[in-house]
Subunit: 258 residues, 2 copies
C-alpha cells in the first residue's frame, strides 16, 4: 500500500456501447472493485473501434493516470483491434505470444484453432498475459495498461487474477444515509458541513420513488475517525430538520458497498 | 438534415458513477436516440465533480464534436457544480436566469424556494433553457453544449424537448443476425465481407447463454440498398457454414432498435 492517492482510467472500447445497443456493465464493477483496493477510478471513456482514436486516447490516459484498464476488442474478428492499437501506442511490434498460443492449442479441439482465433494469441512484444479462466483467450498487461475482455463474466475473472499486481492506496470508506427530505431543504446545511470537512467527500442524490421524494447522502473518506465525526454531525442536522435518517447497514465496508 | 456525418459526445458528470455506486443509464438512451435522428455518439466520458476537470474536458470536446450533452450536477447542493463549470468554460458569467427563477417560483410552495434551490435558476449568461416537465428546474443550452439532469426520467424528458433543436445527418440503419456459430468460425469470412463493404460497419459480439455459444452480427450503414446487399451475402455465408441465422424482426428500424 502507498500513502499517495492512486488513480485509474477505464477505456471501454466498442461501437456497440456507443450505439446504445449494449449497456455497459463493466464500469460499475471496476469502479467498485478498484475502490476496495485503494485505487480511485478517476475517469472513464467510451470510444469507438477506430484505430487512431484508440491509440491517441491510450497514450493520453496512460501518461495521466497510474493505471489504465481497457475492456473490449480482443476477440477473433476484424473489429477486434485493441491488441494492435496497444502495440502501436507503445511502439512495440504485435507478435504471436508463444504462451498464449499454447493455451489456445490446449483449449480448442484439433483443427479449430484457425487463423482468426490465432489473432487472440497476438500481443505487443514483451506483454505479460492475463489469465482467462472462462474461455482461455488471455488478456495482457503492458506497463500500466491492462487489456481485458468486454464480456462481463470474463472481464471480472480476468480482473480478479490481476488484483495482486496492483498497488493501491488507502481505500475510500463510505457511509450513506437515506432521508425523506428533499435535497433542496438540506442543501445549505450540507454545504456548511462540507466546508467543515474538506477531507470528507459529500454527495447528495435525490430520488423520487412512486411520489416519495427523498435524498441519499453519501460520505466518503480515507480516515475512519473523520468519516464517523462527519456522519455524527450529519445525523444531528437531519434530526434538527425533523427528519429520520436511515444509515446503510454496514458502514465499515469500503466505498462501493452501500 | 445534412449530408455530412454529425457527431456527439456525452459527458457523464458525477463521482457516484465512478465509484460504482450508481450504474449509468443515460448513455445507452442517448446513443440510441441520437442515432435515430442521424447523430452519431462518437465518444462518452465519465468525469468526477471536480471543477478544473469538467472545464477542461468540456472545452476539449465542444471543439471536437458537433454536439455535447452533459448529464448530472445541476441540482441544489454544493456538489452540483456543472452550471458554474459550463459558464467558466465559455467565459460567460453565471447569473440568475429570470425565466428559470419564474418557473421555480411557480413550482415551489411559498417559502420553499430557498437559496440552495435558487442555485438551480443560475445559468451562464445568454443560455437557452431546456424544459424540465418532471420537476421544473431547467437544463440549458450554450452553443453546441446541452446541459441536462442526471436522473434518467428527467434527462429523457429534457432530451425529447430539445430534439427539434438538433440537426442530424442520415441515420445509421442496422440489421442484426444471431447465429449458433462461434465467432472464431465465421471471423475470416466476415472479415472478407467487411473488406467488400467498407461502407457497412460490421460488428461481431459473441455470447454464451447457459452453455449455448453463439454470435450476434450487426450490420450498420446509412444506405438501405448497401445494407440489404451485405445482409444477403452474410446470410449466404452463414448457410454455407451450415448454420441457421435468425434476423432481428424489424430491419427497417434505425440503428439502436434491434
Amino acid at each position: 500500500m502507498t500513502d499517495k492517492p492512486v488513480t485509474a482510467c477505464v477505456l471501454v472500447i466498442g461501437n456497440e456501447i456507443l450505439s446504445g445497443r449494449t449497456q455497459d456493465a463493466n464500469l460499475s464493477f471496476l469502479g467498485r472493485r478498484l475502490n476496495e483496493i485503494g485505487i480511485r477510478l478517476t475517469e472513464a471513456r467510451v470510444i469507438p473501434d477506430i484505430e487512431p482514436v484508440i491509440v491517441e486516447t491510450l497514450n493520453e490516459v496512460r501518461a495521466r493516470f497510474d493505471y489504465v484498464f481497457t475492456t473490449g476488442g480482443i476477440g477473433p474478428t476484424h473489429d477486434d483491434i485493441t491488441a494492435g492499437c496497444v502495440a502501436k501506442a507503445f511502439g512495440h511490434p504485435l507478435t504471436l505470444n508463444p504462451e498464449a498460443r499454447a493455451r489456445l492449442e490446449a483449449h480448442y479441439p484439433p483443427g479449430q484453432l484457425n487463423e482468426a482465433r490465432l489473432r487472440m494469441a497476438h500481443t505487443p512484444e514483451g506483454a505479460r498475459l492475463i489469465d482467462n479462466p472462462v474461455s482461455t483467450a488471455p488478456g495482457f498487461q503492458v506497463e500500466n495498461v491492462f487489456v481485458m475482455a468486454g464480456i462481463p463474466a470474463i472481464m471480472q475473472a480476468m480482473f480478479e487474477g490481476i488484483v495482486h499486481r496492483l498497488v493501491g492506496g488507502k481505500p475510500l470508506l463510505s457511509r450513506s444515509l437515506t432521508i425523506a427530505i428533499g435535497e433542496g431543504n438540506i442543501a445549505q446545511d450540507l454545504g456548511r458541513l462540507q466546508d467543515t470537512y474538506p477531507d470528507v467527500e459529500m454527495g447528495s442524490y435525490p430520488f423520487n420513488r412512486q411520489g416519495n421524494i427523498g435524498t441519499r447522502l453519501v460520505l466518503r473518506a480515507t480516515e475512519p475517525a473523520r468519516l464517523d465525526a462527519a456522519a455524527r454531525e450529519l445525523d444531528g442536522i437531519v434530526k434538527a430538520l425533523g427528519g429520520a435518517g436511515e444509515w446503510d447497514p454496514d458502514p465499515s465496508k469500503p466505498g462501493g458497498a452501500a
